[in-house]
Amino acid sequence: MRASTLYLALTSALACGMAGFALHASLEVAGAAAPLARKSALVRQLSLTDLCLFTEASYTRHPSMTDLATPFQDSPMSLEHFPSGALLQPPGHLGREESAP
């Protein structure tokens, strides 16, 4: 068998696989509408603000609601002692310089 035949067959199989992934994703989007609506209703009902990616500290649970002082509330010079604080950056609006209009 020619090498080009093998190459073309392999490339075609991989392209078919990729098309399959895209098809599967589009089918999953249709199926995810109901769970997403439930999550959205929960967000509306409880006034939730963030995805809770970490559960340890309030400033990693709700990054959009935090401030610069909370991670150092025990003492201004103390080390921040929650591991998730090392993984999650402060939200962008806390680091920006306020510009006067």
Binding site: S4, Y7, S40, V43, L46, T49, D50, L51, L53
Partner: protein, 134 residues
């Protein structure tokens, strides 16, 4: 025309196969790099998209009060003052609190729906049953 392209592919593959080890290792490294970068990009994109869809109806502005670095309840009377600010359409209180579970030695954050919240009597009975279990 097609046959010409196939001869070119044959030639390219034969050239690559002359140094199987080197080219195989390069292919492996490139595959791994693309796999790692694509995984991180796809995963972060999926998280952002999921968050944007789920938090579509999240409140636009939340007013919170901190006292000595801890979050503190906001008096309900502040609501009327906030509602007078130009552009504010609606002000709704947000009910939440901490519950210390002495069995698991952990603080739970409880969020309560503003519409139809549990009555104080139900909350008191919950407290009583919780302390009876401890």
């Amino acid at each position: 025309m097609m046959e010409r392209q196939r001869y070119l592919i044959d030639f390219t593959l034969a050239s690559l196969l002359r140094r199987k080890g080197k080219n195989g290792a390069l292919l492996l490294v490139y595959t791994l790099v693309v796999f790692l970068l694509a995984s991180v990009l796809f995963f972060s994109h999926a998280l952002k998209r999921e968050a944007a869809l789920a938090l579509k109806d999240a409140p636009e502005i939340i007013v919170q009060r901190t006292l000595s670095g801890r979050y503190h309840p906001v008096p309900l009377s502040w609501g009327s003052a906030i509602a007078e600010i130009r552009g504010v359409v609606e002000v709704t209180p947000r009910l939440w609190g901490y519950k210390y579970d002495s069995v698991f030695l952990a603080n739970y954050t409880l969020c309560v729906p503003v519409e139809d919240p549990p009555s104080p009597a139900a909350t008191a009975s919950l407290e009583a049953s919780a302390s009876a279990r401890c």
